[in-house]
Chain length 147, copies 2
């Protein structure tokens, strides 16, 4: 998905709900999608402020919530007490391997696991909308350092 297509998706989401496109929302979107990784609101706000001093953190919270509802971003919680967001489109769905020593995050995807998840959910009568899977442990380089 190109940046342009992404904007169109968001514009449409906005319009469908009777909401409006604003300078701040556009700026936050551009900044967010221009960066990579798993950003906390605070981190994103810092980047946005570098481009426009006047944007308030409340607007970043509000915009990221919208972006999350639109499906263009996913909220993540890695247990450090902060909500992090990551871009959701133009990318395959993926899960995370997290090194508890150095904090490295590796993304992966596995279709077989996804299929099994669907089967498990069906057994319980659940209709799954989204999921998270995180594997915590030591990455290759931290294992060597400890050995």
């Amino acid at each position: 998905m190109t940046p342009t297509e992404r904007s169109l998706v968001f514009e449409r989401f906005i319009a469908d709900r009777g909401l409006k496109s604003t300078r701040q929302r556009s700026l936050i979107l551009e900044t967010f999608f221009g960066l990579d990784g798993h950003l906390s609101v605070e981190e994103l706000w810092a980047k946005v402020r570098a481009l426009d001093e006047r944007v308030s953190v409340a607007t970043v919270y509000r915009t990221m919530k919208l972006l999350s509802e639109s499906g263009l971003a996913h909220a993540r919680n890695f247990g450090d007490g902060q909500t992090r967001y990551e871009a959701a489109v133009g990318r395959e769905h993926h899960d995370h391997l997290i090194c508890t020593n150095c904090g490295t995050i590796i993304e992966f995807e596995n279709d077989q696991i996804e299929k099994l998840q669907a089967i498990v959910a069906r057994k319980q009568g659940f209709k799954v909308v989204s999921h998270k899977m995180e594997l915590y442990g030591l990455c290759a380089s931290c294992q060597q350092k400890r050995a």
Copy 2:
């Protein structure tokens, strides 16, 4: 693991660290393990207070942190902004299905998924210590209500 064994594990953990066993800690442990599910500190505190008015919420926070460090409980974060704890021993490892409408939490386990996780991790050179998997969606009864 019987309640008695559990107490011994905790007593030992406490003693090894030069900490002390207290009335409050014992009460919180008993209450926590006597209940089932995924309790927030607030919920647990309410139950403990029913037995002893004088226990402060700070002590519950401090005790649950200890319990988590001892490995007898796990901290969970299901995205509602609260840390929840669940008993960790005497139970199989399991994952969660969470209804985003009514908050119902169903536990499940699936060996095939666990095996696939191990394979994925190995490919990346990771040594996995623990993992979380959460499937979010609508439970059977909430699907009906919405239909």
